[in-house]
Symmetry: C2
Subunit: 345 residues, 2 copies
Amino acid sequence: MPGTRVTIKDLAKRMNLSVSTISRALHNHPSIGAETTAEVWKLAKQLGYFPNSVASNLRRRKTNMIGVIVPRIDITFHSHVISGVEEVAYKMGYNVTIYQSRDSLEREVAITSILQTNMVAGIIACLALETQDCSHFARFNSQKVPLVFYDRVSNELEASKVIIDDFDAAFRVTQHLINIGCKRIAHIAGCLTTSIFSARLEGYKAALQKNNIPFDQNMVCCASNLTYEEGGRCTKKLLKLPEMPDGMFCANDYTAIGAIQVIKKNNLRIPEDIAVAGFSNYPVSTIIEPALTTIDDRAFEMGKTAARMLIRQVEERDVNIASETIVIRTDLIVRDSTRRQPVQP
Amino acid sequence: MPGTRVTIKDLAKRMNLSVSTISRALHNHPSIGAETTAEVWKLAKQLGYFPNSVASNLRRRKTNMIGVIVPRIDITFHSHVISGVEEVAYKMGYNVTIYQSRDSLEREVAITSILQTNMVAGIIACLALETQDCSHFARFNSQKVPLVFYDRVSNELEASKVIIDDFDAAFRVTQHLINIGCKRIAHIAGCLTTSIFSARLEGYKAALQKNNIPFDQNMVCCASNLTYEEGGRCTKKLLKLPEMPDGMFCANDYTAIGAIQVIKKNNLRIPEDIAVAGFSNYPVSTIIEPALTTIDDRAFEMGKTAARMLIRQVEERDVNIASETIVIRTDLIVRDSTRRQPVQP
DNA sequence: TTGTAAGCGTTATCAC
DNA sequence: GTGATAACGCTTACAA
């Protein structure tokens, strides 16, 4: 982007040195005299030289850019993951460039193209809700660009993964609801073609079964986009059932908040009449009244882990690392929305 | 990032054509025969060719990358601005790369270096809270890289700006509180060295003055980071005053929510005892009870406007556009936190 | 310790 | 319509 851009050539001319000497000096190469190095730096500063990483990347045939694909950055979970990625990446000398798929497959495909033509060193991605077929990620395998999925992952693809144990977390939430005395527990589910949401449903079912509570399909309502509105809509439906639920496990905090609002509008008490639990521990979960019991998904930790895995693979690209899967521990956070007298300890 | 990367050279060899022909064909240059063009495309697809934009950028001496610097992406305002930027940018053939300063000057400086070495076509930035001196942005002026600030802008620098009229918005909120009968209106302010927050304070003062309400310094409390906690802390202090406020105008929604929570804990009614208004219209403002009166800052609109301005400048770089400032209209959104019987119409 | 020269993958300017 | 060739700014064998 020059008006008049200063290059190492210019420095070389001014100092009667070769470009290679300049290049080496600017990299503090040991073979260059301390004096020369110092003078090169001085002149560089003076003339306002700055390196052109586009040229350098082309020559080295690699960049130090990590591409991150998130569904949407305005969802707390993802912005925290990004922060975790940045935390690690910057320390290791990598830059992070962020793209939003907005849960659209078309955009996700476009983004993978952009990342590929820009020669990113590696990619961290959470699949769009729409994405079933992941073949657009296959190109990175063949180009040996490391790829780490987080949260919503692909099983058809050879790639590393950072996930939480959704089954286990859902099981624990449901068990908690049972422990406080809930007998008819409803579940607001996400899109069941997405593995994390089907795992949450399965965890819920497993807890019911273990406690000899029959599973009732009418107690499950799908909120495919997991918004406040859908949470509210599902809850209205559930409240109309002949046997109303006395507990609800929602696949995320937004739907849980929608549920709480509808329950309150119906003059039912939380948690006495219906206990409500969410999933993700978004900041709003402490703002809503009553404060929401939820699962902390440790987004920041996930981001850091993903970045560490990715960078290791980038730097050992030749040794052909087997892809690995890391499961991050989650925490159940009990708040007022389920704070009843426990029935069993 | 090759395993084995296919280049136009490879295509040229395979087809017994020159690289220039291939390059032109891939750009659908009219001078190349339709047949040749079609065949080149076919082979390219077949061999899995994809362009190397690093090389292309180097040769063309420009990228189509827009760098966006936000303080933090997990603040709704900024993530909405980003979405607005992307909306416009992608349509115009630009990519967007996002960086977080996390309100740190040091990081902001580092980011400007990264953007410069990566030859971004232009920059959209909101200054970090810490930033007083903007000289690190000056480099873009001298390199003729267009720069558009939004929200928190610099006045020392020649650059375009997209802002809202904070003075006017604050004036209208305060006037609204007066209209519903508030006589002692407190203000939770942001960091006053930042222009937007001092403008909000001034708008508040002006509304008081216009209504012959004396300004009382004790009624202003600074919450420099504008968090829930600070909002709560300030409110506790204000409630201890000999003459408690009966209305509060908070410089953002987070502090307003902190205020609401403290007020409720003190068994005071909102809006009857104290009416509360915020600023920004974050999603939580409808979740908190009572729902929060606030200013919609039209973040998405700001992002779109900033992108349009920037791209125009990028594309007319030679004609040396005078930097301009665009002020986005804001909306006062009245909700239950200030819904009293109006005293005057 | 420094210089020479080739090349990263494209695009642009000539020429034919 | 197509082809040679130079150049974008930098890195890196290899030579000296």
